[in-house]
């Protein structure tokens, strides 16, 4: 019998030739990511466990993103603890204001196809966009990896998602993943790997695949996986070999579920308050007045997302009383968007452009809302209270839809995704 992508990655990593879904195995970790929120807890557990040294300082990446720049009195404590930990144990990779952890892990080349990566954040599933097995863990487990370089996993079952055809012009990969989450439900992929294939996926940029992998956790998935191709190799700065291209799900591999989509059937959608799986066509929501629009996050804060918003907003103005907040996912994206005039188009339309980072997505800074207000946002969660008080209504959408709403001041079907 053939193997799924996750089984192939695990077999290669562990040397167990017949490792299969359901087996519990110990993997060698290729890279870990710790962000500013959890570094104090990781440091405490690491020392309580009695470790003296990191298993490999080169494989540990510490990223400050949720708390940068500090918005609360005690936030900087996390930076002091992180800096001390980095100094004491010789960390080589510390990013203090370069952008969101999940963006940096792939953009800065820390993750390659076939790698096994863990992070102290549920959206660590993102790195599946380049064909890496990556998943979120707690701080206690992270501390033990820092000391041992290994972690036990249960090899996940696979749900195969095939998408073929050409997406309509106003539909993006965000609409694809939201639709899938709506179909699966918020727990529909619990413990599973979501394995994506089909010519629609092949046509997508790595950035678009990243949006899909990022949100896999919103259906409960342990990881999302895309087979590496030329675009992946280009993005990762590697030469594509059989080692990467063989990470494809075999036709006869055992999957617990298969979902087949025709790209032409997708329409622009939004996740309605306050569940990510409460997904509705934008057409059904049209006309609902809004107070704010947020374009950014590790889900949709990349250059193509900002360009998509700029294409909608070019020569137009944000509706009166609507605040449009744009947050590039990284410094590199910020610089690229400045260089190609994307930022000036957005600024001329009335957008407030903020420093790269998690920003408003985790509800700590830069546009917190209050009771009765409504926001259309491009990030990944619309849980109660995520962007302010529990009575804030959050609609999750693509950058194209979000920009269209900013112009009209109400929920609007986008004409085109750039």
């Amino acid at each position: 019998m053939g193997a799924t992508v996750i089984e192939k990655i695990v077999r290669r990593n562990t040397g167990i030739a017949d490792a299969k879904a359901g087996d519990i195995v110990t993997v060698k970790v290729d890279r870990v990511m710790i962000h500013d929120i959890f570094i104090p807890f990781v440091a405490e557990k690491f020392e309580e466990m009695g470790f003296q040294t990191l298993w490999d300082p080169d494989k540990v990446v510490l990223i400050y993103d949720h708390l940068v720049p500090a918005s609360q009195i005690d936030d900087t404590r996390h930076f002091r603890i992180g800096n001390a930990f980095a100094r004491t144990y010789g960390l080589k990779h510390v990013h203090r204001s370069d952008g969101i952890c999940h963006q940096l892990m792939t953009e800065a080349g820390y993750v390659k196809p076939g790698d096994v990566v863990f992070g102290t954040d549920s959206h660590t599933t993102t790195y599946g966009c380049v064909g890496a097995f990556s998943s979120g863990i707690g701080y206690t487990e992270m501390a033990s990896i820092l000391g041992t370089g290994t972690m036990w996993i249960k090899v996940p079952e696979t749900i195969r998602v095939r998408i073929n055809g050409k997406l309509p012009p106003n539909v993006t990969s965000k609409d694809v993943i939201l639709t899938l989450i709506g179909d699966l439900g918020a727990d529909g992929a619990t413990y599973c790997a979501l394995e994506f294939s089909g010519d629609t996926v092949s046509q997508m940029s790595v950035a678009s695949r990243m949006t899909i992998a990022n949100m896999a956790i919103e259906a409960g998935a342990k990881c999302a996986l895309f087979t590496p191709d030329e675009k992946t190799a280009d993005y990762c700065g590697i030469t594509l070999t059989e080692k990467e291209t063989s990470l494809v799900g075999d036709e006869d591999a055992r999957c617990i579920r298969e979902l087949n989509y025709r790209a032409e059937d997708f329409v622009p959608v939004m996740a309605c308050p306050s569940q990510v799986d409460k997904v509705r066509p934008v057409a059904q929501l049209e006309g609902i007045p809004i107070d704010q629009v947020f374009i950014g996050s590790c889900t949709n804060g990349r250059l193509e997302d900002l360009q998509m918003a700029a294409a909608v907003l070019k020569g137009k103005k944000v509706a009166p009383f609507v605040k449009l907040i744009v947050t590039p996912a990284s410094r590199k994206i910020y610089e690229e968007a400045a260089a190609d005039n994307t930022l000036s188009i957005l600024a001329e339309a009335g957008a407030m452009i903020t420093h790269p980072g998690c920003g408003l997505c985790c509800g700590r800074t830069g546009g917190i809302l209050t009771d009765g207000e409504r926001v259309v946002a491009t990030n990944n969660r619309n849980f109660l209270g995520r962007m302010g008080t529990p009575k804030v209504e959050i609609y999750l959408a693509s950058p194209a839809a979000a920009a269209a709403c900013a112009v009209t001041g109400k929920i609007t079907v986008p004409e085109c995704a750039g």
């Binding site: 519990i24 466990m49 009695g50 206690t140 487990e141 501390a143 041992t148 619990t190």
Partner: protein
Amino acid sequence: MEQFTGKVWVLGDDIDTDIIIPTEYLALKSVQEMAPYAFSPLRPKLAGQIKPGDMIVAGKNFGCGSSREQAPEIIKALGIRCVIAKSFARIFFRNAINNGLLLIENERLKDLVQEGDSITVTVNESISYPGGREKIAPLPDNLVEIIQAGGLVRAMRIRNGLEHPKKNGQK
């Protein structure tokens, strides 16, 4: 192989982490203070009725919801020897093992026992219940080591020579 006998409490499907410990009690200072409120949204009296050595038998998706590590810690603090469920939610499963709480996946037991029955678990081998015996899939040695050490922090302390495996009276 390690063997123990105890009384079972039977719960249904999708016992989520908010049922195990509601968010409003998470700010209490210790797991011991939170323990009386365990399962309170579902069965307010249950935490007071559980005796050390008892076991929980449940349906599918036990522990679904948030990543709070307090959920398995509280079940352990109540003295629950192990949880036997049709399936476990992923993060709960990891947190339980790492906090030294034994979990056993078994599709059938939930429908074969009644609350109050006495069952005997032989770790990694079988479960004997009033009507018969169920085989169980063995956990790999490394997970058993973590559970027997009392959790991941202590397992790492033992690994690093800071504690001796037999302290705490555990093998």
